[in-house]
Symmetry: C2
Subunit: 324 residues, 2 copies
C-alpha cells in the first residue's frame, strides 16, 4: 500500500515540494521533535515554507529546539510524518487528524510501521529516525548547521539512552561524530537531556526505590507507585517513564517490573527483560504486548492481585526458558 523510497528518493521528493507540514507523534519524544526541528530548519535553509505540528504540547525541556509550530499560516501541499509508526499515533488535537488523513511522506525507524503514508523511507536498523534523517538532509544538499546538528543529536541521544541501548550501532556513533563536528552542543544537550531531573521526579523515584522487592531468587525485581503516591509528589507522569529501566539494571535480574497505578485505579505494568527473556510473551498472556525486551500490560484490581498475576507469568516464562 505504501511505496518504499531510498534516502535519495526521499530527498528528491522533499526538494520538489513547498509549503510543507511536518507531523510529529503524540506524547512527543526527543526523536520525533528533534526530527521535526531538523527537517524544518533544513527546508528553511532551502527557502521553503514549512511548519511543525504535534497533537500534544511540546515538553518545556525541548524548548531549545526552537520548533516553528504550524498555526495555519499556509496551505500545506505536502505532509511529512517523522518517527510516527502508525496512524493511531498522530493524536486528536491541533487539527492533526485533518492533516493525518493523507500523509504524503513518512521517515521512520519503527519495524512495525504499518505503511499509512503514500511514500515511506523506513530503516528499522536505525537507532533513531534522526540517524536516518541526517542522511536525508545531507542528500538534500543542506549543510548541517549547529542548530540542525543539535536537533538531530537530540533524537539520536534520547532514543538510544545516550548510546547505551542495544539499538546503537556503528552508524549511530558515526552520525553522532558528524553532528559533534557540525557544532552540536554535546555538553549542554547531555546535561539538559539526562541531568535535568525535576525534584518531583526525584521524590517519586525515592518512593519507588523504597518499594523495591525481589522475587524468584533475585531473578525478578519489582517497583511500584500507587496513584496517591504519584499525586502527592506532583510529578509529571511522563517523567516516570524512565523509572521502568530501574529494576532491570540490577545484577542478576532477568525481568524488571514497574507497576504504576493509573488515575482509574488499574495498574499499568512495564516489563523489561535481559537478553534471551521474552518480555512480550509475558505481557501478551495478560492482554498486553510490546517488543522482545520491553513490553507492557494493564491489570484491574488491587496491588496484590496485580503483583500475583504478573509474577505468575514471569515465573512461567523464566521456567519455560530454562526448560527450552
Amino acid at each position: 500500500m505504501t511505496e518504499q523510497l531510498t534516502v535519495q528518493q526521499m530527498a528528491e521528493r522533499l526538494l520538489a515540494a513547498d509549503n510543507i507540514l511536518i507531523l510529529c507523534h503524540k506524547n512527543p519524544d526527543g526523536d520525533t521533535l528533534g526530527c521535526g526541528g531538523a527537517l524544518y530548519y533544513a527546508l528553511r535553509a532551502l527557502d521553503r515554507t514549512a511548519g511543525v505540528l504535534c497533537s500534544d504540547p511540546i515538553p518545556p525541556q525541548y524548548a531549545y529546539l526552537n520548533l516553528h509550530l504550524y498555526k495555519g499560516e499556509f496551505e500545506p501541499s505536502l505532509v511529512v510524518a517523522v518517527d510516527v509508526a502508525g496512524i493511531q499515533l498522530f493524536g486528536e488535537n491541533n487539527r492533526v487528524p485533518e492533516f493525518a488523513r493523507h500523509v504524503d511522506l513518512c521517515i521512520d525507524h519503527h519495524a512495525g510501521n504499518n505503511g499509512y503514508a503514500e511514500y515511506t523511507l523506513l530503516d528499522a536498523g536505525a537507532a533513531a529516525t534522526a540517524e536516518l534523517l541526517c542522511e536525508v538532509i545531507e542528500a538534500m544538499g543542506v549543510a548541517l548547521t549547529p542548530h540542525i546538528a543539535d536537533c538531530l543529536y537530540t533524537g539520536l541521544a534520547t532514543d538510544t539512552g545516550c548510546f547505551k541501548f542495544s539499538s546503537t550501532t556503528a552508524r549511530t556513533h558515526r552520525v553522532a561524530a558528524k553532528l559533534v563536528e557540525a557544532g552540536a552542543h554535546l555538553e549542554e544537550l547531555n546535561t539538559l537531556l539526562f541531568d535535568n531531573k525535576s525534584p518531583e521526579r526525584m521524590e517519586a523515584e525515592r518512593i519507588a526505590r523504597n518499594h523495591l522487592e525481589y522475587y524468584l531468587d533475585g531473578r525478578c525485581a519489582l517497583i511500584y507507585l500507587t496513584r496517591d503516591e504519584i499525586a502527592a509528589t506532583r510529578v509529571d507522569p511522563a517523567d516516570l517513564e524512565e523509572l521502568t529501566s530501574l529494576p532491570i539494571s540490577i545484577a542478576g535480574v532477568k525481568v524488571g517490573l514497574t507497576l504504576r497505578q493509573q488515575p482509574g485505579g488499574s495498574y499499568r505494568i512495564s516489563v523489561r527483560t535481559a537478553k534471551g527473556v521474552d518480555a512480550c510473551a509475558i505481557a501478551r498472556r495478560l492482554g498486553g504486548g510490546g517488543h522482545g525486551r520491553a513490553a507492557g500490560c494493564e491489570l484491574l484490581g488491587n496491588l496484590e492481585n496485580a503483583k500475583s498475576a504478573i509474577l505468575a507469568e514471569v515465573e512461567a516464562e523464566l521456567n519455560a526458558r530454562e526448560e527450552g
Copy 2:
C-alpha cells in the same frame, strides 16, 4: 624530564620491544584495565611476550577482559604504564613499586600527568586512554580483533559515562564506531558496565536518596551516607563512587554534594558542579582539590559540622559567581 612521543613513535617503540610489562593504576577502572587488555592482546598478536600488573585485585565485573596477569614468568625489558597520571597512583602491592621505579613508556590522557616516564604519549583531549591507544594499536599494524575492540570499548564507555560526559568528542564517537565495526559486543558490554548494579549498591542508593536535602534555594543538593549505613548494606565502597553524580543531575542544582563517612569517622565530600561553577575552588578552601566540575575534600567532625562547613563554601562560591 620526559620526552613526548607521537602516536607513530609510541607504536615504533612498542614494536621494537619484547618481554613487556603493562602497568595499570591502583583502584583500577575500566580505562586502565581495558587498555591493559587491549595492549596485551595487540602485543600477543605480534608474538610478543607480555603481562599486565596492577597493585589491586581486578574487580570481578572486568573478568571478561581476560587479563593475563604478570606472575614473574619473564624478566621485563620494557615497562609501559597505561592511564596512570602519576607515580603515586601505581600502588604498593604485587611487586608494583619495584617496576614503577623505572617506567619506559606512558600512554595517558590526564592533563596533570607529571611526566614520570622516560617517554610519554599524552593527549589530554582524548576522553579515555583507550581512545588514544586505539590509534597506537592501529599504528602498530595490528588488526582490531573483537576482543581488543571489547577491551578498548570498555575504557571508552566507562571513562565517558557511556558518551555522556563533557569529555566526549567527535573523535570519541568515531573510535566507538570503529570498535563496534571491529566486533565489540556493545549490547553485552553496556549491560555489564551500566546495568549491573549489586543489590547492596541499590540498598545504599536507597538510603542516600532518603537523605536527599536541598539548600540555597535548590541550587545545592546534598546526599550522605554514614559509616554505619555503609557497613549495614555491605556495599563495596568502590560501588558508591557513581552516587556522586546523583545530586548534580537534578534540575536547577548548580552544586551537588555527596558525603560519605570513612571508617575513621571523617566525611569524604565529593563536589560536582554545573558548567560555570568551580568545584575545585570550593574543595580547595577546605584543603581538598580536583578539577573544575569534579573535586573533593575530607572533613573531620560530625555530619552537621561537615555539612555546615561545605555549605558555607558552596554559598560563597555561588555568590562570588553571581557578583563576578
